[in-house]
């Protein structure tokens, strides 16, 4: 079994942002499409604020759960500097979809380290294909900051080896017990995420 039949998706961000939940929904979608799936993450000590990555691999048969650097087809970054941190995991023709949030940790506020001036610009300069957008503003415009997670899933929906409808069905299922209104809000967020990436690509191809 060679690994090129496997889809590698890396979701990254900060503890508390919803990285693991997003990866979980993507894993469910891949599973309903009949793929073998493995999802692994390292979320270190404490509840919040640290680096979180989730590795998602699916295909006919997945062996190692860990993604190797240089093999990621799609990187879904919940934060600019975090996307940069893991950008060496991208394949040369891989695609990074990055929420351009800038979450500055206390060690930077204390003046011990610098936050990169332009993380996605740095990624582009290194030759990566990057689409960046502001998921939190999109969510806020829809009236609920918590929709940011679904905006992120919308952003990746057109870059999966299955239909966006499959992913949307998994999101619907997750929010079904919260009522029709919540489902509809998430559908809007999903569509807005898709549109944001499409718009970016139309104006400035990654």
């Amino acid at each position: 079994m060679s690994t090129d039949q496997i889809t590698n998706i890396l979701v990254c961000g900060i503890g508390g942002q919803g990285v693991m939940t997003a990866a979980e929904i993507l894993a469910e979608a891949a599973m309903t499409e009949g793929h073998d799936v493995k999802k692994t993450e390292v979320a270190g000590m404490a509840q919040r604020g640290g680096v979180v990555t989730s590795h998602l691999r699916f295909g006919r048969k997945v062996l190692s759960p860990q993604i190797e650097p240089g093999t990621v087809q799609v990187l879904l970054g919940f934060e600019g500097a975090e996307a940069l941190r893991w950008s060496h995991y991208l394949k040369p023709d891989g695609l990074a979809l990055v929420n351009n949030a800038r979450l500055v940790p206390p060690v930077v506020e204390l003046g011990l380290f610098d936050y990169p001036e332009d993380p996605t610009g740095q990624m582009r300069a290194a030759g990566h294909r990057v689409v960046s957008f502001d998921a939190m503003t999109i969510a806020r415009d829809l009236g609920e900051i918590r929709l940011g997670n679904t905006v992120m899933l919308g952003a990746i929906a057109d870059y999966l080896p299955f239909s966006p409808e499959v992913l949307l069905a998994c999101i619907d299922k997750r929010f079904a017990r919260k009522g029709e209104k919540v489902v509809e809000a998430n559908r809007q967020a999903f569509a807005a995420g898709r549109a944001a990436v499409a718009r970016q690509l139309a104006t400035s191809p990654a």
Partner: protein, 630 residues
């Protein structure tokens, strides 16, 4: 009161579920008809019992520590019930006193211990290899390589345990526990306990009885070696490229298959005792043999001792996780193949570190800010979220060793110090859950032996670092239901601390904290300051009205930044020359009012009163609903 966890309606047999290794073990525990399951929380094993507790028809508990959890499981097994306990690697150190004698009595009802090694140390104070316990305690070790195997081997472990009357060690690692994969599940089987049978020669471990049973351990090893050779959990995969063959277990097997799909492999699921015949068969079919094991050189040493030539740690690292990326160049070098240098794009970009932080409004911040302002002290620490107090900006903890060690280390420092440290005050920090796990004995040692220590008991009403599990002092059980609530004040008093030397303080009140700590460290003898506020991640925490910075008032002094709250951000920096000629760095700040939950810790060191409540109309909706004060 926290919400009661709903019980799961277990999915029907033959369902294909996406389960983590921890969830898969839990499902198998339930299906195996287990009656009693016990654990103390510990990464990466915590979710095993959390999941078990959501199944019906069994008893599950948060035990106060791992040793007790194992004793609870043993007691259940003695009645013929199937029993289970789960722990992280360092938890098994704590439980090992029970283990080393329990192996002599053996199990009656099936008895399985799941132990999870934190290979790569994502959330532990050390990295250790629990496979050693199998050798030390003469018990079989099973090592699943993914969620499906975790499920299947757990079920097998119970029958193996009953058949050979032995506890069975199910060895997991982070890459099993926290990896989700597909699992096909089955039904629960009924397992009625056969009943306790009075048998002092077996259950009363006095020298005469133990002596009579110990030869049985060695006999059991031999029996199990044959079982291992016949076991379908140990498979020789012939492969097509015989230049190098591999021995691997657990996640290492997956890495081998990924990196060398055509090589012969002995996949060990039943890894101790390992199968000698299958090992020889593998060795005979390949030119070179490489033992691929995460962390210690354990199998390799034993295989060599059996007279089989092999490689292992001569080419592979002994520290941290393995991966195909580590294996491929190492084995290529061994085979004399050219190893290409890594492509330049593969170099990780340089980005600032982002260590985990205390949460906005975390009550620990108040204590650590206080400690960071007091000079001439030694502060011993312990295991929990509050270990982060050793980091920036507080740098307030001087030691961390193991659960409960803060007490003994503090007492030893007190007794051992010479003239250099004579004028220092010694403080010991511990959390509520760690205190009940293993800190109480240490405190007793301090009071009994006239220790001159000020103990800071950080009571946040939960086991914080592992995700907010209930404790005996939280008034909740593992299901979130009401439980007897022990009184930490009374425990501390009963352990010998004079009533007037026990202070209960609010860690959000900095002046009170400063005053209390300064007073207590001056007094000879032991004292305990209980700093009480709920963890911000549990239901008991109610957010307050958030704050903002009135930018025209901020003088850039940076005092609030020293509190260490992640909701405070620096907008710009400046430098001024004081009349004395001294250059001072200024940091002007803002508060992220979405993240701020209004504890007010940053307000107190702000001299110009630049930090004010946000106007009521701007309070986030989720806080308006719950704000009861300020």
């Amino acid at each position: 009161m926290a919400a009661v966890m709903p019980q799961l309606a277990p999915p029907v047999a033959a369902s294909r579920l996406l389960l983590s290794g921890n969830e898969a073990v839990a499902r198998a525990v339930w299906e195996s008809g287990v009656r009693v399951a016990a654990a103390y929380p510990g990464t990466p094993a915590t979710e095993i019992i959390e999941s078990v507790a959501r199944y019906p028809d069994l008893y599950a508990e948060w035990s106060v520590n791992e040793k007790v959890s194992m004793e609870v499981a043993l007691g259940a097994s003695m009645t013929g019930a199937r029993a289970f306990c789960a722990m992280k690697h360092v938890g098994l150190n704590v439980a090992s006193d029970c283990l080393m004698t329990m192996t002599i009595t053996g199990a009656y009802g099936g008895l399985v211990i799941a132990v999870a090694d934190d290979v790569g140390m994502s959330s532990s104070q050390n990295e250790q290899d629990s496979r050693f316990w199998g050798r030390f305690a003469h018990i079989p070790v099973l090592e699943p390589a993914d969620s499906q195997e975790a499920y299947e081997m757990t079920k097998f472990a119970f029958s193996l345990s009953e058949q050979h009357e032995t506890p069975v060690l199910l060895r997991l690692t982070t890459r099993i526990c926290h990896v989700k994969g597909l699992v096909v599940v089955g039904e629960r089987e009924a397992h009625e306990p056969a009943g306790f049978v009075k048998n002092p020669q077996r259950w009363v471990m006095v020298p005469a009885h133990a002596k009579a049973r110990i030869p049985g351990l060695f006999q059991r090893d031999e029996t199990l070696r044959a079982v291992s050779d016949a076991s379908p959990l140990n498979v020789v995969e012939a492969g097509t490229d015989r230049s190098v063959g591999f021995v691997a277990s657990g996640p290492a097997y997956m890495h081998v298959k990924e990196a060398f799909p055509d090589a012969p492999v002995l996949k060990l699921g039943f890894s101790h005792p390992w199968p000698p015949e299958k090992m020889r068969a593998l060795a005979a079919m390949c030119d070179k043999l490489v033992v691929v094991e995460e962390t210690e050189k354990l199998l390799e040493t034993e295989i060599k001792a059996a007279g089989i030539a092999c490689h292992g740690k001569d080419v592979l690292p002994s520290i941290g996780e393995l991966s195909p990326q580590v294996l491929t160049p190492a084995v290529d070098r061994l085979l004399g193949k050219p190893v290409p240098p890594p492509a330049p794009a593969a170099a990780p970009p340089k980005v600032f570190p982002r260590p985990p932080t205390l949460c906005a409004s975390c009550p620990h911040m108040g204590m650590y800010y206080t400690l960071s302002q007091i000079k001439n002290i030694i502060v011993t620490g312990d295991i929990g979220c509050y270990t982060l107090g050793a980091g920036h900006p507080w740098n307030a903890l001087d030691t961390t060793i193991c659960m409960g060690a803060t007490m003994g280390v503090a007492l030893g420092s007190d007794k051992g110090r010479g003239s250099v440290d004579k004028n220092k005050r010694i403080l010991a920090v511990i959390g509520d859950s760690t205190f009940m796990h293993m800190g109480m004995q240490g405190l007793l040692d301090i009071t009994y032996n006239h220790g001159n220590i000020t103990i800071l008991l950080l009571d946040n009403n939960t086991t914080g670092m592992t995700g907010g599990q209930a404790t005996p002092a939280s008034g909740r059980d593992i299901h979130g239901r009401e439980a007897p609530k022990v009184d930490l004040f009374k425990i501390v008093e009963a352990l010998g601390v004079p009533n007037e030397r026990i202070k209960v303080v609010d860690p959000y009140e900095l002046p009170v904290l400063f005053k209390t700590v300064r007073e207590e460290i001056k007094i000879e003898g032991p004292s305990v300051i209980i700093a009480r506020r709920p963890c911000v991640l549990i239901d008991e925490f109610k957010p307050f009205r958030p704050y903002l910075v009135e930018e025209d008032k901020c003088t850039g002094c940076g005092n609030c930044v020293e509190v260490g709250c992640p909701a405070i951000h620096v907008t710009h920096r400046d430098k001024v020359i004081k009349p004395s000629g001294k250059e001072v760095e200024l940091a002007f700040v803002t508060i992220d009012s979405q993240a701020c939950t209004g504890c007010g810790l940053c307000v107190q060191p702000c001299a110009p009163d630049a930090i004010q409540h946000v106007p009521r109309r701007d309070i986030p909706i989720h806080i308006v609903k719950t704000t009861s004060s300020s």
